[in-house]
Structure formats: structure tokens, C-alpha cells
């Protein structure tokens, strides 16, 4: 029954029809609570801290051993590469950037969604984000660390990598500040540094809460050091809130700067397929797209395994899926616009590159990219899919792969056939390429598992401050859409 269709039945003396309509409309208008089932602040603290306090479950040990072994694979590959040379990767003269830079852009992109959630959603007063921002920021830090592996080792002689730092050395050599690759060094380091600071500030009150509740003497000492003696006084909170706001603003700027700089690695060159002003928004939305997918992949199992469904609610999953869909539409638009400009710009080299992407030897990656990134996420138009966490989990695996393929398409298919046909060639990954990339997933998940074991996976103080009882101007009344619906 549509709400806007006027009732054809004559006026009901009991006005039943209107009442039902009004009830339905009211249910639509009632906002879902940030924390379900009217949980109290004490419950939130106990429940999140119990993840750390209870003995580690069996699955955690199994997961850590698997992730640790896979991470070891990356370690072995990196040592082998440093001992032997960059030639162990499949790069050749035409395709002199391939998996390394693809992986770098892939991981750095995953980091962006964490900052987006923690900073941009904080600035825009999206208070639901408080339930997932700690998990998202941790994802940022670990993803940036994984990203840093690739540019660090692909320089070849890693023992000279410190030449990139602007410090006086014995040869009197200084870096070239006009090079986008040096901008990249600054961008990645700043991004890592600021993300850690932002994450740490959020952690201070929660570490204090952990300090006051754990029984273990050593852990108590560690948490006391992390929280620096935080007491939760109103004067401290005032500084904290202001500082957090400032850091959110800084981090927002940084997300934009970092994706701009990473895209400048490509767009400041004159390679067809790279030399476009669209690259800056392209990398920004692509990064956030991949990051939201990874966040859903992390959150769905965590909320299930640790029974955090009341804090990381279906609404959180729903909203993350909507962001995924939005970013998916953005990248679809950009894919279309790139082809349009290649056609409309009239540059024959540009046209050739884009034709080569579709009809050239790498056409499979292009087709898979289009299917995974543009078509599959369209299922998120359905509320049933968005509200079904495990289904969403399966769906976002595809754009996650698709976003890796997107970077592969951008990098390899643009350069494997350059201006000089005699140097055309193909890129084939070696085992070292494959194992190094697989290994970074091990590093990422290993660090994430250690994080959920030793630190509160959800920002306790922030979730508490969005509870209805935290509002000093209202008596503590708990509004729950479902309960209200049940009453009426």
C-alpha cells in the first residue's frame, strides 16, 4: 500500500487506516540507535574489554599461525630479493613497473578508507562511525606498512634507501625535491606517522579504561604507560576533543594529499594512459572503494566471532555497503570518462593504449576489472543484501580483487607497449612476485590479529559518548526502533 495513495475506502469511524499509516511513517522516521538493544555504557566497556581479557580462543591461535607463516613467506622473498637483485621480479624494459607498484597502490588505497571513516565522517558528524573507527584506523596503519614494503625494496640497493631522506650525507648529495617519487616518500611517511598519531590519541582513554580494569600486573603497567596517566578529567577531555578535531582536519587534508601524490607518480609522466588530470579523483575514490571492501571483510568476522553485533550493528554494515556502492559508481564513471577522453582527445597514442586495454593481450584483466568493480557491487542496491553481513562479505571480495586488477590494468597495460614498437613485450609475474604479495597479506592479518588481541578493537569511550544516556540534557531514555515498533 503506497503511502501517497489516498484511501478509497470511506472514512473509517475508528480511523484505523490512518493510524496504521502514521505508525508506519513514524517507524520510518525513527533513527536506528547507534548501539542496539539499549546497552548501557558499562556493558559497552565490559563487552569490548572482554575481547582482550578473556583467554584467546582457539581460532585465534590457528589464524595467527597461518598469518605468521604467510608473513614469513614475504620475509624470505624480500631477503632473497635483496641478496640477489630486483631481477628476481618479472619486470622487464617495457614493463618496468608491475606488481610492486600495483601492490603498493593497492595497499595504500586500503589505508585511505580507514582515515576517511575516522576523520572525514568525524568532521561531518556521522556519529555512527564511532563504532568502527578504531578497527578502520588500525586497518590504515597496517595497510600503509604493507604498502611501504614495495617501494622500499624495489629501489634495488636498499642499503642506499636512506639517500631519499633529506639529511646531510658525506657525499653532499641532497634529494631532488621536484621529483614525484620523492613526494611519494614524504607522503607515505607522513601518512603513516599521522595515522599512528590519530589512532594513538583515540587509544589514550581506552588504554586508561583497560589499566583500571585488568588484573594482570604486567598488562596494567603496559596500559598505564600507553595512556600516559590519563584520568578522564573534564579539562583533559576538553583538550582531547579539540586535539581530536584538529587531527581529524589534518588527516582529511592528508588523505587528499596522499592520493594526489600517489596519482602524481603516474600523471606527471607523459605515458599515454597515465598522463591525465582525472588521476587525482580517480585514485582517491578508488582507494576509498578498496578500503571499504577490506573493512567489511574485517568487520563481518570480528563482530560475529566476538559477538559485537550490538555495537557493530547491521546498520554499520549497511552504511559501509552504501559507501562501497557509491564509490563503485564513481569508479564506473571514471572508467567511462577515461575512454571518452581517449576518444575525444584525439591523441593517437592515447587511443591506442585504451584500445589495447580492451583488445590487447591483457583483455582478461580489463574485463574482470569491469565485472568486479562496476557490475557486481550493484547488488548493494538491495537492502536485503546490505543487511546480510555474510552475503556482503562475499560480494565485497570481488571489488577487492577488482581494485587490485584496476591498478594492474593502469600500470602494466599502459606501459607494456610503449612508443617504440621494437621494445614491446609482456610482463609475467615470477614466483617471487606472487609470494611477496601473498606474504603482505600475512603481515597485514598477523598485525591485525595481534591488534584485536591486545587493544580494544572498538573505541570504548567514543561509543559510550554516542549512547542516549551520555546526553546530559535528557533523562536516560533508550529509544529502540524495533522495540517501539513492537509496542505499537
Amino acid at each position: 500500500m503506497s503511502y501517497f495513495t489516498p484511501s478509497t475506502t470511506p472514512a473509517d469511524p475508528l480511523n484505523r487506516h490512518e493510524t496504521a499509516e502514521i505508525t508506519r511513517a513514524r517507524q520510518e522516521l525513527v533513527r536506528e540507535p547507534y548501539v542496539n538493544n539499549g546497552r548501557s555504557a558499562a556493558w559497552v566497556g565490559d563487552h569490548i574489554a572482554s575481547v582482550v581479557e578473556n583467554p584467546a580462543p582457539l581460532w585465534w591461535y590457528i589464524a595467527v599461525s597461518i598469518a605468521g607463516s604467510v608473513a614469513g613467506l614475504a620475509g624470505i622473498c624480500i631477503v632473497y630479493l635483496i641478496c640477489t637483485g630486483v631481477g628476481v621480479w618479472g619486470e622487464n624494459k617495457a614493463a618496468n613497473w608491475a606488481w610492486d607498484i600495483t601492490n603498493f597502490v593497492f595497499w595504500i588505497g586500503i589505508g585511505h578508507a580507514g582515515t576517511m571513516i575516522a576523520a572525514i565522517l568525524y568532521l561531518t558528524r556521522q556519529r555512527w562511525a564511532s563504532g568502527i573507527n578504531r578497527a578502520a584506523e588500525a586497518m590504515t596503519i597496517f595497510a600503509v606498512m604493507c604498502a611501504g614494503v614495495f617501494p622500499a625494496v624495489h629501489v634495488g640497493r636498499v642499503w642506499f634507501a636512506w639517500y631519499m631522506a633529506p639529511i646531510p650525507n658525506a657525499n653532499g648529495i641532497w634529494p631532488n625535491f621536484r621529483s614525484p617519487l620523492l613526494w611519494d616518500v614524504f607522503a607515505v611517511n607522513t601518512y603513516l606517522g599521522v595515522s599512528i598519531m590519530f589512532w594513538y590519541v583515540g587509544l589514550i582513554p581506552d588504554a586508561a579504561a583497560m589499566r583500571d580494569r585488568v588484573k594482570n600486573k604486567i598488562l596494567k603497567y603496559v596500559y598505564a604507560v600507553i595512556c600516559l596517566g590519563w584520568r578522564g578529567s573534564a579539562r583533559q577531555w576538553a583538550n582531547y576533543e579539540m586535539g581530536y578535531l584538529m587531527l581529524a582536519g589534518i588527516a582529511t587534508l592528508l588523505v587528499i594529499t596522499t592520493c594526489t601524490v600517489v596519482s602524481s607518480d603516474f600523471s606527471t609522466s607523459v605515458i599515454p594512459g597515465w598522463h591525465g588530470t582525472i588521476f587525482i579523483p580517480y585514485f582517491g575514490v578508488g582507494a576509498i572503494y578498496g578500503g571499504f571492501c577490506m573493512l567489511i571483510i574485517l568487520l563481518v568476522p570480528i563482530r560475529q566471532l566476538y559477538k559485537l553485533q550490538d555495537i557493530v550493528t547491521l546498520r554499520h554494515i549497511d552504511l559501509c555497503c552504501r559507501y562501497t556502492l557509491l564509490m563503485g559508481l564513481f569508479v564506473t564513471y571514471i572508467y567511462g570518462m577515461e575512454f571518452f577522453i581517449a576518444y575525444y582527445g584525439g591523441n593517437p597514442n592515447e587511443r591506442f593504449t585504451f584500445t589495447d586495454r580492451v583488445y590487447g593481450p591483457y583483455w582478461e584483466t580489463w574485463v574482470l576489472m569491469m565485472v568486479f568493480n562496476c557490475i557486481i557491487p550493484q547488488v548493494f542496491w538491495s537492502k536485503k543484501v546490505r543487511r546480510n553481513p555474510w552475503l556482503a562479505f562475499v560480494v565485497v571480495i570481488f571489488p577487492s580483487i577488482g581494485m587490485w586488477l584496476e591498478r594492474y590494468v593502469i600500470i602494466v597495460s599502459s606501459i607494456h607497449r610503449d612508443f617504440l614498437p621494437s621494445s614491446w613485450g609482456m610482463f609475467y609475474p615470477t614466483w617471487i612476485d606472487i609470494f611477496t604479495f601473498t606474504g603482505t597479506f600475512g603481515i597485514f592479518f598477523l598485525m591485525y590479529l595481534l591488534f584485536i588481541r591486545f587493544l580494544p578493537v572498538i573505541a570504548i569511550a567514543e561509543v559510550r559518548s554516542v549512547l542516549p544516556e551520555a546526553n546530559p540534557h535528557q533523562p536516560p531514555v533508550i529509544i529502540d526502533a524495533h522495540e517501539e515498533a513492537a509496542h505499537e
Partner: protein
């Protein structure tokens, strides 16, 4: 009195040797907010509210001024901008000029990304330092930690603490004020000499 405990409940007849503050517990943010307004209106300066999470508007109820952290952010940002400008200009123009593709040695547009990043980095560092230093942290000990109940200040309890060094502090009247405001578990907190 030499063996007087550091923490004594009001009405127990004991007093710490050197009084640090009188503290009261409140059940919820609304009660804390109302009590903070009362204490503020009496003109106290050396006092504080303790809560497990930031309560919206409590700074106003306490009569606190805007935090200075944002000024430190600005100072940090200016530092980053100036340091970045000098670093790049001095090295690229005077110390180690590199001729790349005929670009001028002083090429400001190409310096912008690093200027931006250094500004961001230093303002973030100053902000973090600001939060820590302006909150008088890090701190190894605090008299309030002698009080067992204060462990709950990071969990589910709310406290108002009025320090004895406040010129308006008066053992009897301050206790009365906190009791009238609805405080429970009124306690004298002592500090070591």
C-alpha cells in the same frame, strides 16, 4: 594523627594529614552536569569533573575556556611550512642544485606537495604534544588514584573533585555544596607530604 590514611570517607571522623581535595560521586552525566554548574557558580577555580567519556557541553557547565590545543596546531603548521620552504629552497638552489629537464632551481609549484606534507606532519605532532602537555601528562602518580572507587572513573562513575588549594575551599561548606548537589560517597583525599 601520624598514621591517618590518605583516603577518608566524610563523616568517618578521620582526616588525611595533608588534604588534597574533597571528592563526590554522581550517578549519571545529567547529575554531573547539574553539579558542575553549581560548583562553577560558587566561583571555584581548582576543581575538576571526571567521566569515562567526553560529555557534550560539560566544558560550558564548568565555565572552561576554549582549549589551547588548536593554537599549537597552527604553530606546528607554520613551523612545518617554514622549515619545508627553507629546506627545499636552500638545498635545491644553493647547496645542491640539480638541473632536471631545464626546470628552474627554485620551482615553487613542484615544492607544494612536500610543503603541504611537512605542514601536516608538524601540525599533527604539535597537536599530539598539545593534548598531552596541556593535560599535564604524562603523569606517574596522582593523589586520586589512592581512592579505590576512582578506578570506576574510566568505567561507569562520575566524580566532582574540588581541590583544597582553591581559595574558596572550606572543609565544611565545600562538603555541604557537594552533598546538596546530589553527590554520594563524599571522601577526603589526602596527598603525601
Amino acid at each position: 594523627m601520624s598514621d591517618a590514611p590518605l583516603v577518608c570517607a566524610v563523616g568517618s571522623g578521620q582526616m588525611p594529614k595533608k588534604l588534597y581535595a574533597v571528592a563526590a560521586e554522581f550517578p549519571n552525566p545529567a547529575a554531573l552536569y547539574a553539579a558542575a554548574e553549581k560548583v562553577r557558580d560558587r566561583g571555584f577555580r581548582w576543581w575538576d569533573c571526571y567521566s569515562p567519556y567526553a560529555i557534550h557541553g560539560l566544558d560550558k557547565a564548568m565555565g572552561l575556556k576554549k582549549s589551547w590545543v588548536s593554537l599549537l596546531t597552527l604553530i606546528g603548521g607554520i613551523h612545518g611550512l617554514v622549515i619545508g620552504f627553507l629546506l627545499m629552497t636552500i638545498t635545491s638552489v644553493y647547496v645542491y642544485p640539480i638541473d632536471t629537464q631545464g626546470k628552474p632551481y627554485f620551482s615553487l609549484p613542484a615544492f607544494v606537495p612536500i610543503l603541504d606534507l611537512l605542514t601536516i606532519m608538524l601540525s599533527a605532532i604539535f597537536t599530539l604534544k598539545g593534548i598531552i602537555v596541556l593535560s599535564w601528562l604524562p603523569r606517574l602518580h596522582h593523589p586520586l588514584w589512592e581512592w579505590d572507587l576512582f578506578n570506576r572513573a574510566t568505567h561507569d562513575k562520575f566524580f566532582v573533585v574540588i581541590e583544597a588549594c582553591d581559595p574558596r575551599f572550606d572543609e565544611k561548606n565545600t562538603v555541604e555544596l557537594l552533598r546538596d548537589a546530589g553527590g554520594a560517597n563524599l571522601t577526603f583525599i589526602g596527598e603525601e607530604e
